[in-house]
């Protein structure tokens, strides 16, 4: 069952939205780029399981930003390529 919101509730909500937009955390994903990406030192699981220098890049299929399949090997074919894992947080 849908409930009707009161005009006061609308006012509270819309005011709070504006306030929320104004707040931005200092530890943001959009901080200055170009520095170091995280703690130093190798992660053992990466050393054990990750791609290794001198090996072929893994033959994996992932997706582009529209959801279409793309091959890591095809993307890196005939060009130098950099692949970096990341996310919003």
């Amino acid at each position: 069952m849908t409930k009707q919101r009161s005009s006061l509730a609308r006012k509270v909500a819309s005011t709070a939205i504006v306030l929320g937009v104004a707040v931005m955390l200092p530890l943001s994903a959009v901080q200055a780029q170009g520095g170091r990406g995280g703690p130093s030192g190798d992660i053992p699981r990466f050393v054990e399981l990750g791609p290794k220098v001198g090996d072929m890049v893994p033959d994996l299929t992932i997706l582009d930003d529209t959801g279409s399949s793309v091959s890591i090997r095809n993307l890196s074919k005939d060009n130098y390529s950099v692949f970096v894992l990341g996310c919003l947080t």
């Binding site: 819309s14 931005m24 995280g38 990750g50 997706l63 970096v84």
Partner: protein, 317 residues
């Protein structure tokens, strides 16, 4: 990373690969449950970073992430013949620049960060937070638990998303505390309408597993709207770890534009086992200050380190 890209983009292709959140709930972002939502995350990352680097998405079973040892922020440089020329656990644009220079030659006047003037966009705004107090977990580590949202029975998006965590004791013995949190997904721009009935959920368990309480009605604040997570602690008593329980949640989803406010019922399956593909949540207060969670190692020298998602150098790790 952007400076390296600008200096070498005519010789090197640069890609970010979007992976599971390293720190769910930080800045309000919650883990996507399907590809459509992961692509929404990428659009949000584009908006916030303003980077010109091409975004790709890992598959929903995290093919690339797993092949990288489930590292949060690793990077590789690949040559035209497909051979890996450099690989490191943590993205390091300075070191990457050296690697690229060794491969294709150095640029004379490297671009500086100050030259970029990249736009800085705020996180998505929401209605008031700090209305419903955050739950205080008992001492000890709480780690994410395997959860699967049942999309087949869902008629609308998962506007709020379940996060289940177990205590170390629970994973080791089958008995312990489980955290259950329902976090609004900011990408849907929704809030709790507290004039509607509060969120409630029920957990059904098979023989051999008991969860107490297994039926809970959430808080019903006086404030008419808020965006705080609805969080609960329950006790689990299972003969062994790894059992499966079903959770059904009911709530009202109301968008911030006030165009809809609808009753929603959605189902989850929870396996009482550690989910290693997702990072540990970072708990923040209403002002966004970190108050708990995260297991980032502290970088020698003090900078960065624990509880500092995002870091420097591009997308958050």
């Amino acid at each position: 990373m952007e400076t390296v890209k600008l200096d070498y983009e005519d010789k090197v292709n640069f890609y970010y690969i979007y992976k599971p959140l390293a720190h769910p709930e930080f800045q309000g972002y919650v883990s996507p449950i399907n590809l459509k939502e992961r692509l929404m995350h990428i659009e949000e990352a584009k908006r916030r970073l303003g980077s010109s680097i091409t975004w790709l998405s890992d598959t929903m079973d995290n093919t690339y992430h797993q092949a990288s040892g489930e590292t949060p922020n690793s990077e590789i440089l690949v040559g035209p013949d497909g051979v890996v020329l450099a690989a490191r656990s943590w993205s390091d644009p300075d070191a990457l620049r050296v690697d690229i220079a060794a491969a294709v030659g150095a640029v004379e006047n490297p671009t500086q960060i100050a030259d970029l003037n990249l736009p800085t966009q705020p996180v998505i705004g929401t209605v008031a937070k700090g209305i419903v107090p955050r739950v205080v977990k008992p001492e000890g580590r709480f780690l994410p638990m395997e959860t699967v949202a049942n999309e087949e029975t869902a008629k609308v998006p998962f506007y709020t998303k379940l996060r289940a965590e177990g205590s170390q004791e629970l994973y080791e013995t089958g008995k312990g505390i489980m955290y259950i949190g329902f976090h609004l997904d900011p990408l849907y721009r929704v809030h709790w309408n507290n004039e509607a009935p509060p969120l409630e959920f029920e957990i059904s368990t098979p023989d051999g597993i008991s969860i107490t309480p297994n039926k809970i009605v959430g808080p019903d604040p006086e404030e008419e709207a808020d965006a705080d997570p609805r969080e609960f602690l329950v006790e689990v008593d299972s003969a062994e770890a790894g059992g499966v329980v079903d959770l059904t949640v009911k709530y009202f989803a109301c968008d911030d534009e006030l165009t809809f406010c609808i009753p929603v019922q959605q189902d989850y399956q929870i396996t009482l086992a550690r989910d290693t593909s997702h990072g540990n949540a970072i708990t923040t207060d209403a002002d966004g200050n970190i108050v708990g969670g995260g297991n980032r190692r502290r970088r020698p020298g003090g900078e960065g380190g624990a509880g500092r998602p995002g870091g420097r150098g591009g997308p958050a790790s």
